[in-house]
């Protein structure tokens, strides 16, 4: 008899905070600079140099805490995490350990089988390390410390996630949230949003957790999914083969699609955390926190709920539309200009617009068709100038350059035929050209109605108003 296994996952997400300068220094955080030109004396850990905390990084952490309904600590402490690594200039990372700035919150994730609340243990401020480069330097590695000292918010979930899919849904939720809050650009390719996954398995129904492995530095949703699935399979195979899981840190190799132990972490680390004597306790007063609360935007869950309530959209549609703030704003602008027609707007934003954006690998902010232009197009469907089918053609032409729907409709003669006598003339021609089908229809073959609709639409190049065609055909075919 085979045992049923349950997967247990906790994520540690590192969100790079979108400050201009570093967490403890006035160096720029801009991505992609020449090596080490954005590493000043603080970032290099020079003798005699001291850290001074960036107010904006603190504000951003508080924004996140408020958004997940967490406790924002009135007093938090910076600690030193001590270990030697060439990209860690001081030989310690300034982080928060026993007293983080954000404690105990949660977010809701929605899956096909319903919604689940995922606990967030804590979120704390810390500095990023630099980068080690290994290519083309022979027996050496090169150290670039531009990234050293970049502010990070480490968001630690409870081990509440039960599958790779849930982990992805949770990670996407946090990704959405940090971008709504404008505290992180969410750029995963540049490493602005990445995570470590703690993965273990246990017999279903057991209370105690299995031994976990930590998979480091996953920087895409796809890698998170593949790494977790590989790791779960590896652990189950190991356990079913009578082996034991060893607690260790592993790396995901995306080329080989597998995880392997990290050699540099083989030696057991003892981080010797202690309060950083260079940084006094961070004290936040109620006024500071409330002032930040007042600047919070409408959050994705609130927005989705409003779309359901006010626009009559389904929960699924609302969720998709609010996955990014820009997307939701685009949709709302279209609805606003149309003066309603929420479902129509939602379908177009989630359908054609999303499809074209994906095809061309564009962000919504780069869309050649803006909210105003899309609203202009949809207005022509609403007022019957064109059919939905023609609208798709118009949309494609607009995407290609002429962004104005009316101009495309006029230039290409796509205006819908709504003149009854004109449609009647076409119907008469179709009936004359298909005597056999007409006879069959009249002898009871109702199914042929569709055939005649098709012929009429073909003859009008799709421009005939479908409702009128239906009505007139029914009358004329009946004889």
């Amino acid at each position: 008899m085979s045992i049923e296994w349950e997967t247990v996952i906790g994520l540690e997400i590192h969100a790079q905070l979108a400050t201009r300068s570093k967490i403890f220094s006035g160096s720029s955080t801009a991505y992609g600079a020449t090596p080490n030109v954005q590493a000043n004396l603080v970032d290099l850990g020079y003798p005699g140099i001291l850290p001074v905390l960036n107010r904006e990084a603190v504000r951003m952490a508080v924004r996140f805490g408020l958004a997940i309904g967490a406790t924002v600590a009135r007093r938090s402490i910076f600690a030193r995490k001590n270990y030697f690594y060439p990209d860690l200039p001081k030989g310690y990372q300034i982080s928060q350990y026993e007293q983080p700035i954000v404690k105990v919150g949660s977010v809701e994730i929605v899956l096909d089988d319903g919604a689940r609340r995922i606990g967030i243990t804590r979120a704390h401020l810390e500095e990023d390390a630099g980068k080690s480069l290994h290519e083309g330097l022979g027996k050496q590695s090169g150290i670039d410390l531009n990234r050293a000292g970049t502010p990070l918010l480490e968001i630690v979930s409870e081990p509440d996630l039960r599958s790779a899919r849930e982990a992805i849904a949770y990670m996407k939720k946090i990704h959405t949230l940090v971008r709504y809050l404008e505290i992180c650009d969410g750029n995963m390719q540049e490493g602005s949003f990445r995570c470590d996954a703690n993965v273990s398995v246990r017999h279903k129904g057991r209370r105690e957790y299995g031994t976990r492995c930590e998979i480091k530095n996953l920087n895409s949703f796809r890698f998170v999914e593949r790494a977790i699935n590989y790791e779960v399979a590896r652990q189950i195979e190991l356990l079913e083969g009578g082996g034991r899981v060893v607690q260790e840190t592993r790396l995901f190799d995306s080329d080989r699609n597998e995880t392997r132990p990290m050699r540099s972490k083989e030696e057991a680390n003892d981080y010797r955390y202690f309060p950083d004597p260079d940084l006094l306790p961070l004290a936040l007063d109620a006024a500071f926190i409330e002032e930040i609360r007042g600047t919070l935007p409408e959050l994705p869950d609130q927005k989705a709920e409003r779309f359901e309530r006010e626009h009559g959209l389904s929960r699924y549609d609302s969720g998709v539309l609010t996955a990014s703030r820009e997307f939701a704003d685009f949709y709302e602008a279209v609805v606003g200009m149309l003066g309603g027609e929420a479902k129509l707007a939602a379908n177009w934003v989630m359908g054609d617009l999303s499809g074209f954006l994906n095809r061309d690998n564009l962000e919504i902010g780069q869309s050649p068709i803006g909210a105003k232009q899309l609203a202009g197009l949809l207005a022509r469907i609403v007022d019957g100038t064109i059919s939905g089918k023609i609208a798709k053609e118009v949309f494609e032409m607009m995407w290609g350059g002429v962004a104005d729907a009316d101009a495309v409709i006029a230039a290409k003669g796509l205006r819908q035929i709504t003149d009854t006598s004109a449609i009647e003339r076409v119907i008469a021609g179709v009936m004359m050209a298909n005597p056999a089908q007409l006879a069959d229809y009249r002898s009871g073959k109702d199914k042929l109605f569709g055939f005649f609709v098709g012929q009429v639409m073909k003859a009008t190049g799709g421009k005939a108003n479908p409702a009128q065609v239906n009505e007139l055909l029914r009358k004329l075919l009946a004889g």
Partner: protein, 96 residues
């Protein structure tokens, strides 16, 4: 409490300090004495006492504005570095 050779070797590794065979017994002896000396702390009654990490207890962290104030001084700073190439600090190959 006394420390063993193994203890001292472990501490030296954690602290990344090369200690020679000749030096090792000297450190075992002196560190053991220091540990014995600081063991006196166990005689103090500290139940309910808040640990003190900083001498000015009522001071709190001051914050700076989020402004880029630094300019590039890479070449000057790298003048102090033992080994650089192409703007990178070089170290023996790091194995992840």
């Amino acid at each position: 409490m006394t420390l063993t050779r193994r203890d001292v070797e472990g501490i030296a590794l954690l602290a990344r300090l090369e200690i020679s065979e000749q030096e090792l017994p000297v450190y075992v002896e002196s560190l053991s004495r220091i540990v014995g000396f600081i063991d006196q702390l166990s005689t103090a009654t500290t139940e309910g006492v808040e640990p003190m990490a900083h001498p000015l207890e009522d001071q709190v962290q001051t914050l700076r504005d989020d402004q880029v104030t630094e300019v590039d001084h890479r070449d000057r700073y790298q003048g102090n570095a033992p080994l650089v190439a192409a703007g990178l600090y070089l170290v023996p190959k790091v194995i992840e």
